[in-house]
Symmetry: C2
Subunit: 391 residues, 2 copies
Amino acid sequence: MSFTTSEYKERIRKTKERMMQKGIDVLLITDPANINYLSGYDGWSFYVHQMLVVIIDEEQPMWIGRGMDANAAKVTTWLYRDHIIPYPDDYIHSDTKHPMDFVAGFLKQIGQENRSIGVEMENYYFTAKSYEQLKKGLPNANLQDATLLVNWVRLIKSDAEIEYMKRAAVIAEKAMQAGIELIQEGVRECDVAAKIFYTQITGTEEFGGDYPAIVPLLPSGEKTSTPHLTWTDERYKDGDAVILELAGCYKRYHSPLARTVQIGKPKEEMETLSKVAVEGINACLEMIRPGIAAEEIEETWRKTIEKSGFVKESRLGYSMGCNYPPDWGEHTVSIRKGDKTILQPNMTFHLIPGLWLDKYGFEVSESIRITESGCETFAKMPRDLTLKEFV
Amino acid sequence: MSFTTSEYKERIRKTKERMMQKGIDVLLITDPANINYLSGYDGWSFYVHQMLVVIIDEEQPMWIGRGMDANAAKVTTWLYRDHIIPYPDDYIHSDTKHPMDFVAGFLKQIGQENRSIGVEMENYYFTAKSYEQLKKGLPNANLQDATLLVNWVRLIKSDAEIEYMKRAAVIAEKAMQAGIELIQEGVRECDVAAKIFYTQITGTEEFGGDYPAIVPLLPSGEKTSTPHLTWTDERYKDGDAVILELAGCYKRYHSPLARTVQIGKPKEEMETLSKVAVEGINACLEMIRPGIAAEEIEETWRKTIEKSGFVKESRLGYSMGCNYPPDWGEHTVSIRKGDKTILQPNMTFHLIPGLWLDKYGFEVSESIRITESGCETFAKMPRDLTLKEFV
């Protein structure tokens, strides 16, 4: 297990506190990061329906999942064996049976069918059909939206979690350096991606890497005008800029990091853009401290870059930590106008002031921890546009 | 683009044919593989809401997505620019705005709000909340479940798709060989995973690899009793068995492959189990041909292994091809009792007779194509338990 049983129990206690505030008796958790956070469960089985059931008056949660994954629950969680409930394989990708039918039947069997039941309405792993089937199967339950309930518990990290994110940052730095070193005119994009992957997973001599929730994003040339392209097997050309956005991951905890590389001489507008973005992120890192609101960071950023005539429509960052594909973000705090969350020590954010214009773009980012008096970046690397000479 | 515009148009034609059969006027596609299949769109942006809208009486579909991803749609799809509809960034992870509100408003604006509208109720990327918001925003629409409508169109592959899967298989073989070569007593699991990743992405000199929808699965020792564990940074021990399940991927098309490696001397029960599984898969590969039903394959498997007293509860395989995380399966045909789908040439399956017992397990799998007269495996590698001597 990644944490002590007492840390898992404390997380359950905090979750139940929020359940009580919302009048939720039974919480059905489908977000794999929330399942992992509360139980330790870790396996690539979230592509089929699975769930952690937290009952307000039961000490331990219950894991419900596909039969073949029950042994994974035994290996990776702190739950007693009788809290691991497998469902039969003919519920998988069937047009007549749905795993939520099994869940509804199970909740009836243990006398929970008349209670107030929370579900994660806005989560990849709780489909529209899941909700419909649960409603059918539990007509007397009071189904409530409990989206992000556990995510908010995850917001402030324990020291053990921070330690994992620091390890993830060591890996992120190594992966970024490996990518930057290899990028050169004539090199294939896929070979750079491969090198990054290798470094992310092999980790260091002391500890290995886990798979990040997002693959390396590597737009180049004109494609730097958009952030979420991956790679091709084309070769870099002189004059190309390359954005690298990647994370290190250790036991499901992430430290994302973005930098931009220039092959050969940068265009003047790229030099300007990069200076503006770096000045903007530096200004933010200077002012971030506990007690301010998330939106104040964005205000500092906005006022810094508008002096140079730049505007960024998209948010400046978000809370992150433990996660599974397809996203390392926690979906709670966003660093943008209107988010009044007050920063507290051991909150962790990905601060990503990307600027994507019509024909080119620039990204620089830092994963940060709020400290007692300010903030610290997990990784330590120069932020400027990285210049790679011609071969 | 990965395919010719005429191939995309033919896919749209087939999709509309199914829409007509089901009385659907407007199809809202949220499955990233279906979006890619019909439009070419390719980017790691599926962690936010995005959609392809197919309207029965419009020639081209429309892409709706986050503002910063619109340039990715311009770069990767065959759609006209005015068919690429960005939504503002404040819809992202907001507790007051939902991207489906934008979609509903857009559909009203183009006069589609009274029509029969199909949605993918059972898909990772169409949340319960998405459905609720669409119902609210489109009170006069007739919302219908169109889950798997496009997935079924994807079932029989074109020659171009088969060519991509063959390339994916070349990569899968290389990745499997790299993993097997490195596995040895004393080697860390993460270093084997890293080598596999590197090989999957670097591909060959002729073509690079794309990221598979699932990371390498590498349970070892007692953990071979369950299939979906990934890796740790622990070192292999003498006597460990290691299951490797991985895929090669080329332009989103997969060729999955599983093998089992034994470090040192195998236990007798492992030798028995592996022989039974290999005899079973060989019997299936002998009898698979167009015209038989999917369930007949499972029957052959079942009868072959029951002679040795083995039973497998889980399904034997499934249709696969183009996909995105978290699954490479197509969620249409399952090779199991009750699936009466008649096999046709250029259907492609992952045939995976894994046997997971209480304390150990064995996997061997093949990705196959139904040919005119039988079937062929995409990869060509020995299937027996691979024996690795002590160092």
